[in-house]
Amino acid sequence: MGANEQNLVSEKLRRVLDAVALKRPDRVPVAFHTMLWYARYGGTTMREVMYNYELAAELGKRAILEFDPDLFCAPHQFTTLGRVLEAARFKQLQWPGHGVGENQPYQYLDREYMKAEEYDEYLFDPTGFWLSKYMPRVLGCAEGLESLHALPGYFYMRLVMGMRTFANPKVVEALRAMREAGEEANRLVVLQNEFVRDMEGRGYVLAQGAVSIAPFDLVGDYMRGARGILTDLYRRPDKVLAACDKAIPFILKAAIGTARAMGSRFVFIPIHWAPDGFMSLDKFKTFWWPGFRKVLLGLIEADLVPVPLWEADCTSRLETIADIPPGKAIYWFERTDLARAKSVLSGVACLRGNVSPSLLNTGTPEQVDAACRDLIENIGRDGGFILDGAFGIPDEAPVENVRAMFKAARKYGG
């Protein structure tokens, strides 16, 4: 790495860290985050960028070098997942060629993956439940794990004889298929690390070293499903709270471990169940916020920077979510009005966002430029702000509009 590039490293990282610390950086930092927009950028299909590691990396690099953002994400994080999904026979998602067309984005299947009567099983033994119930339900490769014996019941010679469980043909096949999926995931991670090191060497800052989740969203989205979690709030509120609490140490361990292995301090947390319209403020304060606050504090304690992306409009939650240590987190808002967010969170969290996808997809470069200028001048004026799309760059955005966003950061951000 040359001296100039070294300077760039410190310059961009300093800019971002100044914003996090709520100081005024030399200019407003700008982030590049996208999922499948590479297909549009490269004139190819979404399936191709999900499966072709080399092509996606080339497009990712080309985009980062062209737009010169401060923060970047690697296409290996949210894009090139096709081969691993296929090897794992993942059942919670439909992706191009697997349930949706070649040029349609992957989409989550909202289902009940843990039954209402299974809360106690999860609470008693989360690892056992995950291995023998949850993983076989969501990963085709792990289906045979249903036949695993409950090992803590085995001891002494019985434990030795209990090794028969690993000779069960269904378990043997599951372990083989899981190993294959794991090896594909390893190939992807090796390429991701190469990409990240290359970009970091050029001065760019990895926007997320790990992806994490709010405890309520884990239980709601990935275990109980929407209908289940919403009715549970009335039918079994204590179980919901207990399951959220139980999940916290596992969530923290996974996020802290991954972020450290990546050598990045930023932990991206897409937030699903916080929006104003989903539950009353009272229920939000009871069921949603306390668990997530513990996750935020745990990450901050580990010297990491949580980056929750508050999806939809969370205006009524602002006063509640302001209760964190100042200058330690980036709050990325999708549809919450940033002026209102700034009035409540000024002196608490760095704000990020939120050029609307409707504008990025259907507007003109001039309109995008004006919207960015407005955000930079009104929200970024005193620091503590990172410019980005409301949810990064939408898959369908015309390239000239994306270009306009990054140009605007330079024109008005200084």
């Binding site: 949706v100 919403l230 009715t231 996808p357 409707s358 259907t362």
Partner: protein, 215 residues
């Protein structure tokens, strides 16, 4: 002590599910006209809808109220059939709703369907990932006064536009109002797609329908 039908109404409206189901069962077992029991449920749903509109209730309450109604309906249905069926209820107007092609999301659409239904509209929900041609066929058959296009993903902007263009091409655009909603939809998207209006929540859909077709 309040009379049982009033207690049923309050139990549903106040989200006391077990009590509501027990009361409904004992009313039906005691020979109460099942149509009267369902009328109580409908009145309770109006209260739920009103509390939703006023910002007291949110998704958990709408979903739970819907499930209570479903369960009581299942108890009452065989009794109604035994009595020779129910008289048709007059509805305000027809609304066809679906999630546009490419998008598999349905929570928002289901809530809108629920709110329109309890507000007296005859709603036909044609599901998710609905191809343009299917919208056209369903509109021809159902003859709705309002069409609602739902979509959560940004790809839905184009799917909505294609659907509305196809409705126009089929010569049916002036026969209906079209509203769009979900996720990222805003005035920019409304103007891009050529819809008549957009809404950010289920009450907006009800308000739009009231303005267009009464009720």
């Amino acid at each position: 002590m309040k009379e049982p039908k009033q207690r049923l109404l309050e139990a549903i409206a106040d989200m006391r599910e077990d009590e509501a189901l027990e009361l409904a069962k004992s009313l039906l077992d005691g020979g109460e006209d099942p149509l009267h029991v369902l009328e109580v449920c409908r009145t309770a749903m109006e209260t739920v809808g009103k509390r939703f509109q006023e910002g007291e209730y949110f998704l958990p309450e709408l979903i739970l109220a819907g499930e209570m109604l479903e369960r009581i309906g299942a108890m009452a249905k065989p009794l109604i059939q035994a009595k020779g069926g129910a008289a048709a209820v007059k509805k305000h107007g027809r609304v066809l709703i679906g999630t546009v092609h490419g998008d598999l999301h349905d929570i928002g659409k289901n809530i809108v369907t629920f709110m329109l239904d309890i507000n007296g509209y005859e709603v036909k929900d044609i599901g998710i990932d609905v191809p343009v041609e299917r919208f056209i066929d369903e509109i021809r058959q159902f003859q709705p006064s309002v069409v609602g296009l739902s979509g959560f993903l940004t790809l839905a902007f184009d799917s909505m536009k294609e659907t509305i263009d196809a409705i126009a091409k089929a010569g049916m655009r002036d026969k209906m109002k079209i509203m769009i909603g979900g996720g990222q939809v805003d005035e920019t998207v409304r103007s891009y797609t050529g819809a008549d209006a957009f809404g950010n929540n289920a009450m907006a859909a009800v308000t739009l329908c009231r303005g267009w077709i009464g009720g």
